[in-house]
Structures are given as structure tokens and as C-alpha cells.
């Protein structure tokens, strides 16, 4: 990544903002999997690219999917072309994105009420599409996944996997930057520039100036002129189309994903029946994700998030994995699929709309050259989509270069098969070292090698300070971007025990001032709260209450008590009013429980980890 030294860069940025303009060859709108994939592909072919994204990378649909790396099995009956693409790309991603992929394997589980006919169709379909598929008896399936229901009939085993969309997009964007691309997050497109019947660029509004985001930095607008614009905004494609004056009819369809606290299964569990809601459980990092629903909505940003959807996930999927019924969920989130069908198809049920993607060249379609929109499609084949779009754009620009994205590994996915004892090398306890390695892949060396103490900041997800600081280097004060890179605050306490530590490092390491750090912390905290609202019963409700008490009362983040340290009554020590010698002495003389001998306090202070036993 670029070497951004925050405080200085921030100063430069302010002077650079306001009504700038820039020229590039291609502007890619949208920092999801498709946009990041296109940016990387074009940049590797030597094209000058600028990627703009309205929020964080993965802000749209990519960051709100269930993390399934399709084997193609799900499409093996209904859409064999997609199924074939999936298994092909599945194999490619295992190589080029190895640190984003966990090959869990997958099962299509048949319950007694599911038809034998469909089971056979699925099996044959898989085999026709070149997807390795084996039938397992109920007993064998339960040897793979002990928590499967006792009354299942049988299952088909396929090479499904889990993939981290955040890590994947970040790696694509990072590699694009390596190859000279410019990536601007938090920079929504506010206009598409049309001159003489041709699209010539876009106008973006930087929330906080260009470059990595720093809260409180003054933003501004920027016109980015380009030879070609790629509209890779998924469910938002219609909105960009409107700005350009063309009609791109995307039919956004929402789906819920419910996140469990632990991995009840280590294998992707699909229900073996034709389309249906609530038919998949994906083990994702430390959690399982239950999915999903499929409901057409009008607006990709404003739709109801309904409790029945969450209830449905748990109720239906408990039929496959009974323990889900009483298991703890930590949050739920919704995504909108950018479904598209060519005008006149007239499908009424969104689950019937094809998952294939469409490349709309507005020169041919609307007689408006200069822009290509990409709609439909699915995450697993993002690279293939990006390749086809890049081929198209290169044709238009007259660039003669081959696509290399199927062969060149992403940053972090280089081969590091030499077995080393990373835990010892980096002085990390084994589960922490292991998880860090799984997240960082071949970047582990550069990130984790440090001479400084490297305590665990997020205990739920085993994220150390070194990894956090690496993410801060990339993300400025955007703690949500830090979260996406590291998974810090994504575990069972949902940040209750680490968001303040993360924020503290913005101050300690980043050198940002209090107001900036507070704004960054509030934003992360709100984002964490958003998803938990859909999990507020039982144990997550208790967690939320504990989090509230810690932050609102102990840390006074609700601001209920004025921050007047002089007014603090430390009680009396040895008959004399405390505090007369200044706050430092008062703290030394008076223990919170009123009178532990001073040397006991000294002992505590001598301890390197300050007594936080779990923290190192």
C-alpha cells in the first residue's frame, strides 16, 4: 500500500481539495468485487484507472453477501452455464486469492420431505457441469458435520467454500494501486459529465478530501475526465444511468443474512431442494452465516429490514442443523442483489431472474458513447466478469494486452508453502498466530514483524496491534475500513471490548486529535449497533446491555456526566481530603476499594500487561 503518513498528508489534502479536476483513461464507479476486479485487471494491462466508491470498499452488495464461494452446485439444475463458470472460477480463486478462501467443502442435504427426483437432478447436473459430486449416506454426512439433524436422508458433497469478500476487494484494490491505479473511497459520484453527446467523465464529492479518509478533513468536489467510464455500481447502476440520462433497469432484491456467534458447522450446508428462502449455512471465519430471502425492493438504500426474515432463517435452517434454534446470533444484515433482465422478459418472481451478468455498452444501446454498465452477475465469478469488461474496454481504447488476473496471485496470496513456526517467530499464542496468518497470508511477515510489544486488541477475533496499525496505515481514521481489513470488533462482543482500544490507537499511533478520534469511534460504534438491533434477545441482548454499561456509564460516552476532573471526589485518604496534591498523587494514595496498601498498587503497575491477563 501507499506510504501515507497521516498528519502531514492531511494538511496537504486540504489545500488540494475544492474543485479539482483530473484526467485518466478509465473511471470505474463502484468499489465492490466487480469494480475492484475491473480496476485491477485494467491496471495490470497498463491502463490508467481511477476507482471511485461512495462508501468503503464493499459498501454495497459485496459487503453484504453470505461469503459463499460457489462450487456451482446451487445452479447445477436451473442454470448450467452459471454453474460451469462457478466451478471454473472457484478453482481460479483458490489459487489467486488463497488467503481469502477457505475450502470448507459443501453439502446438499436432502430431508425426507425433499424429493428424490430433485436430488438426482442435482447430482446429475453437478456431474454434467464438471462439479465433483459424491453422494453421502446420512451417517457419512453426519461424520462430516456432527451437528446435522438426525433425520436427514442423505447428501451430495461438493467443493463449496467460504470466501471473505472484504479481504478480496481490499487485495484487488491494493494490487490495482500497486499497478498505478488511484482508489478513492467515500467519494460518491454526484454527476456524470456529458459533452457533445458523449460521456467524458464524472464529478465526485470527496467526503474528506482525496486519499485515505480522515474524519473532519474538509472535502470538496472533483471532476475526473476519462476516455471511458465503467458503471460497476450493481444495485445503484440505475442511479448512475439516470445521471447520464440512460435507463438501466436494475431490479434490486433484498436478502437477509443472520450471523451466528460460533461455527456450528465447518462445511457449507445447502438444502437440496429447488429455490427457496433460508436454505444455506456458510461457515465464515469464526461464525456461521445463515441465508437468505429474496424480495424485490424499490430502493437499494431504503427498504424494510423485517424480523420475520430473521425468524425464518433460524426456523428453516434448524431443520438442517437443530442446534441453531437455541444458538446465539450476534447480528443480521441485509444485502440487495443487482438483478437485471433484458427489457421484455417479464419475470415476476425475483428468484427466477437469471444470475448471469449483462454488459451494456451505452454506445450501442442508447447511442451515448463513453460508458459501459455492468449489471447482474454473482460474486464467485467477479474475476471473469471483470475480465470480459476489461476486454471490452481495451477494445474500445485500442489497448492490446492480455488478461493476467487468472494467473497472478493477489497480494497476500503468494505461495508461502515453506512451513515455518509463525507463532514462535512472531511471539503470538497459537490460535492468535494461526488466525493472523489466515487473514494476512503472505503479508504476515511485513505486518507482524515488529520490535514493539504486540498485544491482542480484539480478543474475539484475535487481532493484534501490529495488524491493526497496518490497517490504519491503509484506512486513515476510518475504523470501519480497519474493521473490514482485520475483523476487529466483528466477534461475539461486537466491539464492546475493543472499539475504544482501536480508537485509542488512532491517537497513539496515528496522532489524530480527540475530536477526530471521537468521530471515528462513534461511526464504528453505530455501525456495530446497526446489525445487533436484529439480534436483541437472549444472550446477545445481555451482551448489548453489558456493552452499553461499559461505554455509556463506565466510559461516560453518553456524556451524561460532565468531564470535569477537578470535580472528581476520590474520597479521603488518611484523614486528609484527597486531591489536594493533584490528581496524580491522589490516585496513588487511594485505591478504588478504599485502602489497599500502596505496595500492592505498585505491584500492579510493574506488570507489563497491566494485569489484562487475556491481552497478550
Amino acid at each position: 500500500m501507499t506510504d501515507n503518513v497521516m498528519p502531514d498528508a492531511a494538511v496537504v489534502r486540504v489545500t488540494r481539495s475544492h474543485s479539482m479536476s483530473e484526467r485518466t483513461e478509465v473511471v470505474v464507479i463502484g468499489g465492490g468485487s466487480t469494480g475492484c476486479g475491473v480496476a485491477r485487471d485494467l491496471a495490470m494491462r497498463g491502463v490508467d484507472v481511477t476507482l471511485v466508491e461512495q462508501g468503503n470498499l464493499t459498501h454495497g452488495t459485496t459487503g453484504r453477501m453470505h461469503g459463499l464461494l460457489h462450487s456451482g452446485g446451487r445452479y447445477a439444475v436451473s442454470d448450467q452455464a452459471s454453474a460451469r463458470e462457478c466451478i471454473e472460477e472457484n478453482r481460479v480463486l483458490r489459487d489467486i486469492a488463497s488467503h481469502c478462501v477457505e475450502m470448507t467443502g459443501g453439502l446438499f442435504v436432502k430431508r425426507p420431505e425433499d424429493t428424490e427426483e430433485y436430488f438426482q437432478q442435482k447430482l446429475e447436473g453437478c456431474r454434467e457441469c464438471g462439479i465433483p459430486a459424491e453422494v453421502l449416506t446420512a451417517e457419512e454426512a453426519r461424520e462430516v458435520e456432527p451437528f446435522l439433524a438426525g433425520d436427514i436422508d442423505k447428501a451430495i458433497e461438493v467443493p463449496d467454500g467460504a470466501i471473505d469478500p472484504f479481504r478480496l476487494c481490499v487485495a484487488n484494490a491494493a494490487d490495482a494501486e500497486e499497478h498505478g491505479a488511484r482508489v478513492e473511497t467515500h467519494s460518491p459520484v454526484t454527476d456524470v459529465l456529458v459533452e457533445d453527446g458523449e460521456i467524458v467523465g464524472v464529478e465526485v464529492t470527496h467526503e474528506s478530501g482525496p486519499g485515505v479518509r480522515v474524519h473532519g478533513t474538509e472535502g470538496g468536489t472533483e471532476a475526473i475526465y476519462a476516455d471511458h467510464v465503467v458503471n460497476a455500481t450493481g444495485a445503484w447502476a440505475g442511479r448512475i444511468g439516470d445521471m447520464a440520462g440512460v435507463n438501466v433497469e436494475v431490479r434490486p432484491s433484498k436478502g437477509v443474512m443472520t450471523v451466528m456467534n460460533v461455527r456450528e458447522v465447518d462445511t457449507v450446508i445447502n438444502r437440496c431442494k429447488p429455490k427457496g428462502d433460508a436454505d444455506i449455512v456458510v461457515p465464515h471465519e469464526t461464525t456461521c452465516i445463515l441465508g437468505t430471502t429474496d424480495e424485490e425492493v424499490d430502493d437499494p438504500e431504503d427498504y424494510p429490514e423485517e424480523a420475520w426474515e430473521v425468524d425464518l432463517m433460524i426456523e428453516e435452517l434448524s431443520k438442517l442443523v437443530p442446534m441453531l434454534e437455541d444458538a446465539r446470533t450476534i447480528r443480521s444484515y441485509w444485502g440487495v442483489r443487482p438483478l437485471y433482465e433484458p427489457p421484455g422478459t417479464g419475470t415476476t418472481d425475483p428468484t427466477d431472474i437469471t444470475r448471469d451478468f449483462f454488459l451494456l455498452d451505452h454506445a450501442d444501446r442508447d447511442d451515448l458513447p463513453g460508458m459501459t454498465s455492468i449489471v447482474g452477475g454473482k460474486f464467485t465469478t467477479y474475476r471473469l466478469m471483470a475480465e470480459k469488461i476489461s476486454d471490452h474496454v481495451c477494445d474500445l481504447l485500442g489497448v492490446d494486452a492480455d488478461c493476467e488476473t487468472a494467473d497472478v496471485p493477489l497480494p497476500g496470496s503468494d505461495d508461502f508453502t515453506v512451513l515455518r513456526d509463525y507463532m514462535d517467530e512472531f511471539g503470538l499464542r497459537s490460535p492468535i498466530g494461526r488466525r493472523s496468518m489466515q487473514r494476512l497470508g503472505s503479508r504476515a511477515d511485513e505486518v507482524l514483524r515488529t520490535d514493539e510489544p504486540n498485544p491482542v486488541v480484539c480478543q474475539c477475533e484475535a487481532v493484534t496491534r501490529a495488524e491493526l496499525r497496518d490497517a490504519i496505515d491503509q484506512s486513515g481514521t476510518d475504523l470501519n475500513a480497519v474493521r473490514l481489513r482485520t475483523r476487529a470488533s466483528m466477534g461475539n462482543c461486537q466491539g464492546g471490548f475493543c472499539v475504544h482500544r482501536m480508537a485509542n490507537d488512532l491517537r497513539e499511533y496515528g496522532g489524530y486529535d480527540r475530536a477526530t478520534v471521537d468521530a471515528a469511534l462513534d461511526e464504528l460504534w453505530q455501525e456495530r449497533w446497526k446489525g445487533q438491533r436484529h439480534a436483541l434477545w437472549g444472550r446477545q441482548l445481555s451482551q448489548a446491555m453489558l456493552n452499553h454499561l461499559l461505554h455509556a456509564t463506565t466510559m461516560n460516552r453518553d456524556g451524561a456526566a460532565p468531564e470535569d476532573f477537578a470535580a472528581f471526589d476520590a474520597g479521603e485518604a488518611d484523614g486528609a481530603p484527597a486531591g489536594v496534591d493533584g490528581p496524580g498523587d491522589a490516585a496513588g494514595a487511594t485505591a478504588p476499594d478504599g485502602g489497599v496498601p500502596v505496595d500492592a498498587g505498585a505491584d500492579e503497575a510493574d506488570r507489563p500487561d497491566g494485569g489484562d491477563a487475556g491481552g497478550d
Binding site: A149, E325, D326, S430, Q459, L546, D609, A613, G614
Partner: protein, 466 residues
């Protein structure tokens, strides 16, 4: 668990002999392919991992990260290299994927005092997670020829050693008490030379019982099967004899079934195969006794803890649940079924040759909700002052304090208890746990008694040899 076993002071048939009295196994936690205790009753997992490996990740669902377990952990307080029970338990388990077999070696720092179980406000199966992780670590990662493994194996199988040693008790006592032998033990095996090896009794409890001709009292209604464990058999025989005399005084027929070590030191050292072998014998024999109308009582609170909690959590053996539900601490059982208080009140303590006591409640008795029973009972004994020295851990935790590298930690943990004992009026100690007793004696030089010995002195006419 503090919600463990309430002591009912009624004479009618106690209805508490069911599983809910002891702690339920961790939610979703299934003893190696174990019993169908899941919600809905239809769930019965397959035994996939062949033996000791089980999936305890769902147990992390109950954790709020509140850190009560860490702040209650006596080891974390003194040993900076030990990351604490929250890391060892719910955090480490939650971070596991199926193919992950490596366990962090810090699990061997845990002393298995199980205080974290009691501290947790939310029933996270902490000690079960620790026991399982430790078992996996020892099985898969520990060098079986290492000094640590061999030393731990010896300590964990104390009963085997004792069986041999007690054949020639005087010789063994002389050899083990020799300071040169102690030095060699420390250098070669890593067993601390600071402690005096416990002396073997001239005659084991079981030989005495046999010589005595077994029970002197017969009853169809009141029957107990005595689980004495190794220590009361080989070392503190007077405790076992006190139990016999007290229970016979109350009209109980006593059975002394064949038995092996309860497994407590094996759990603490991750020797789950050894523990399973012992458990199998114990569950079979105690199960038979229960079928014949006996309830099981133990004089050691770690033994009763193992039978009640660790067996059902770790092993899927026929009858573990029945044994767990019908096992009691010896004093607890008596207080539940008999009126002990009135006879105690009738005694004039000043006439007895009894000192004042400094009482320490063992961590494992605390977890069974028994930490106040001795103090509350002897409050009614006039002229004998029994003072509770507080809720700290004695620090020895069975084999933990015997390890050379843990000895200093063990004494540092025990410091609070030693201090409070010094401050107490009594200059004799009292506790239910044999190793707490060793530690109390080691730290203060006091003689230490078991509550049953005091009860015997108060209620049984010991001039008559029985």
C-alpha cells in the same frame, strides 16, 4: 457452581437426587459423541473424533467476555505468562476451525482449581473446555519422553505409586523423606524438593476395613457406598475411619466398593485416557452400589467434584449421569439426611480435647456450593471456634504445587490464606481437601484436620474401639 447442591435440613426422603442438582454439561457441549441432552431431544451427534475430541465451540455462545473468570483466576494473578481462563476457554474454542488441532501450550499453566466455573455469571463450561483442550494438547503435542510428561504422568497416577509404596510404608517414608532423594526428584523429575512427601499410613484403610470385618451396622434403609479415593486409603487413614465411625453412629450401613482414583489429578494433567480407565471402573462399581440402594459419599471434595461434574462432562460411559446424581460430599449428605445440629448442640465442647480451628474451604467444595457447611455446622459446637479464613485458593491445586516450576506460584497464591490463618484465633487448620491440607500445613506448620475428624471427636465415643 454456587447454585449447586442446596443442603436441605429435612429428614424425609430427599428429592434432590437428580441431575439438576449438579451442573448441567455445557450447552451444546457433547461428551465425546455423547448423550442426547440437546434441545428438542432429537439431536444425537455422531462420534466422529474417536475418543476424547469434542466440539465445545457452542459453549462460547454463553460468554459475554466480562472477564469475571480472569479476575477470579488465582494463577493469572501471579503468573504473567498465563493468559487466563477466558482465553483458554471460550476464546480459544471459538477461534478453532475443524482442521485446527493445535492448542496453545499455555493450557498447561492452568491448575484446574475450577474457580472460573464458579465466577462465570453465565454458565460457560470453562473447566470442561480447559480439560478437553488440555487433553488434546497432551495427546497431540506433548513429547511423551519429555521430563514434563513423565513427571506429570507420575503425579497424575499417584494411586499407582501409593499402591507400591504403601506395601512397605516405613521404608517408603524413610526414602521419600530423605533430602537427597528429594533433591534427586527435583533435578530428575521436576518434583519440588520444598515439600515433604506425604507419609504413608502403616496400614491402609482398606486393609483396616477388611481386618475389621467390614460394616458393623446393617440397615435396609440407610446405606452409603464410601468413595475414599487414594489419599484417605494410603495416607490420611484417620479421615476414612472417622467417616466410618460417624456414619455408623447415625445408623448407616457402609459399603466400601472397589475403586480407583477419582481422576482429578489426571484431568489436571491432561491424562484423559488414564482418567477414563479409572472412571470406567468407578462408574461400574458405584453404579452397582446405587442399584442396590446405596448413595455414594466421598470425604474428598475433589473426588465428589470429579464424580459429579467432570465424568459427565468428559466421558460418555453408561451410568455416569446416575452416579453424578447420587454422589455427595460426606458432610453434605449427613446434613441433608440427619439432624446433626441437635447432637452437636448437646455436646459441651470445652470437655472435649478440641482446639479452635482456621477453616479453609477448598475451591472444589466451593464449586459444589459447600463452602460454608463446616463453619455453619460447627457454629453450634460450644467452646470450639471455627473461623473461615476467606475465599482465596490455597494454591496447591492437587499436583500443581508439586511441580518444581510452579512451586513459587503455588506459594504466592497461598499467601493470602496463610496470612488469614495466622490472623485466626485457632492454631489448627481444617479443610476437606487433602492437598489443601498439605498446603495449609506447609505454609503455617499447623496440624490440619478434616471436618469428619472433628465430628467424630464430638459425637462418637472413641474410647470404644470400633
Amino acid at each position: 457452581m454456587s447454585d449447586g447442591h442446596d443442603t436441605h435440613h429435612t429428614d424425609d426422603d430427599c428429592g434432590c437426587s437428580d441431575a439438576e442438582a449438579t451442573r448441567p454439561a455445557g450447552e451444546g457441549a457433547v461428551p465425546d459423541g455423547g448423550t442426547a441432552t440437546e434441545a428438542g431431544g432429537e439431536f444425537e451427534p455422531v462420534d466422529v473424533f474417536d475418543g476424547s475430541d469434542m466440539d465445545l465451540r457452542p459453549g462460547a455462545d454463553s460468554c459475554y467476555k466480562c472477564t469475571s473468570c480472569d479476575t477470579s483466576c488465582p494463577v493469572a494473578e501471579v503468573d504473567d505468562s498465563f493468559p487466563g481462563p477466558k482465553f483458554q476457554g471460550p476464546e480459544q474454542w471459538r477461534l478453532k476451525r475443524k482442521e485446527d488441532t493445535e492448542i496453545d501450550d499455555s493450557i498447561m499453566g492452568c491448575s484446574n482449581c475450577m474457580r472460573c466455573d464458579g465466577a462465570c455469571p453465565s454458565d460457560v463450561p470453562l473447566s470442561q473446555m480447559h480439560n478437553s483442550a488440555r487433553g488434546e494438547y497432551v495427546d497431540n503435542q506433548m513429547d511423551k519422553l519429555s521430563r514434563e510428561y513423565i513427571r506429570n504422568r507420575i503425579l497424575a497416577n499417584y494411586g499407582t505409586l501409593a499402591r507400591v509404596g504403601s506395601k512397605v510404608p516405613r521404608l517408603t517414608n524413610a526414602v521419600m523423606g530423605n533430602s537427597l532423594v528429594q533433591k534427586i526428584n527435583e533435578k530428575v523429575l521436576g518434583i519440588t524438593a520444598e515439600r515433604d512427601f506425604p507419609e504413608f499410613a502403616d496400614e491402609t484403610f482398606r486393609s483396616w476395613w477388611k481386618r475389621r470385618g467390614g460394616p458393623k451396622v446393617h440397615s435396609e434403609e440407610k446405606r452409603i457406598a464410601y468413595f475414599h479415593g487414594d489419599y484417605a486409603n494410603y495416607n490420611t487413614v484417620e479421615v476414612a475411619k472417622a467417616l466410618v465411625r460417624v456414619y455408623e453412629e447415625f445408623g448407616y450401613e457402609i459399603l466400601v466398593p472397589d475403586q480407583r482414583c477419582s481422576g482429578t489429578p489426571m484431568f489436571a494433567n491432561g491424562m484423559l485416557d488414564d482418567a477414563r480407565r479409572s472412571a470406567k471402573v468407578n462408574v461400574e462399581n458405584l453404579g452397582d452400589a446405587i442399584e442396590n440402594g446405596y448413595d455414594v459419599v466421598a470425604s474428598c471434595t475433589s473426588c465428589s467434584m470429579a464424580l459429579r461434574q467432570e465424568y459427565p462432562e468428559q466421558f460418555d460411559l453408561d451410568g455416569t449421569e446416575t452416579v453424578a446424581a447420587n454422589t455427595y460430599d460426606a458432610l453434605e449428605y449427613l446434613l441433608v439426611h440427619e439432624n446433626v445440629i441437635d447432637p452437636i448442640r448437646a455436646v459441651d465442647g470445652d470437655q472435649l480435647d478440641l482446639p479452635d480451628f482456621a477453616y479453609h474451604a477448598p475451591c472444589h467444595s466451593r464449586n459444589q456450593g459447600l463452602d460454608r457447611q463446616a463453619v455453619e455446622l460447627f457454629r453450634h459446637l460450644d467452646g470450639v471456634d471455627v473461623e473461615d479464613v476467606g475465599d482465596s485458593c490455597s494454591g496447591i491445586s492437587g499436583t500443581y504445587g508439586w511441580k518444581e516450576e510452579k512451586y513459587d506460584y503455588s506459594m504466592e497464591i497461598g499467601e493470602e490464606m496463610f496470612e488469614h490463618m495466622e490472623h485466626a484465633e485457632g492454631e489448627t487448620g481444617m479443610t476437606e481437601c487433602p492437598t489443601c491440607s498439605m498446603q495449609m500445613e506447609h505454609g503455617t506448620g499447623y496440624e490440619i484436620n478434616h471436618p469428619l475428624e472433628v465430628l467424630e471427636k464430638a459425637l462418637v465415643d472413641t474410647d470404644v474401639e470400633v
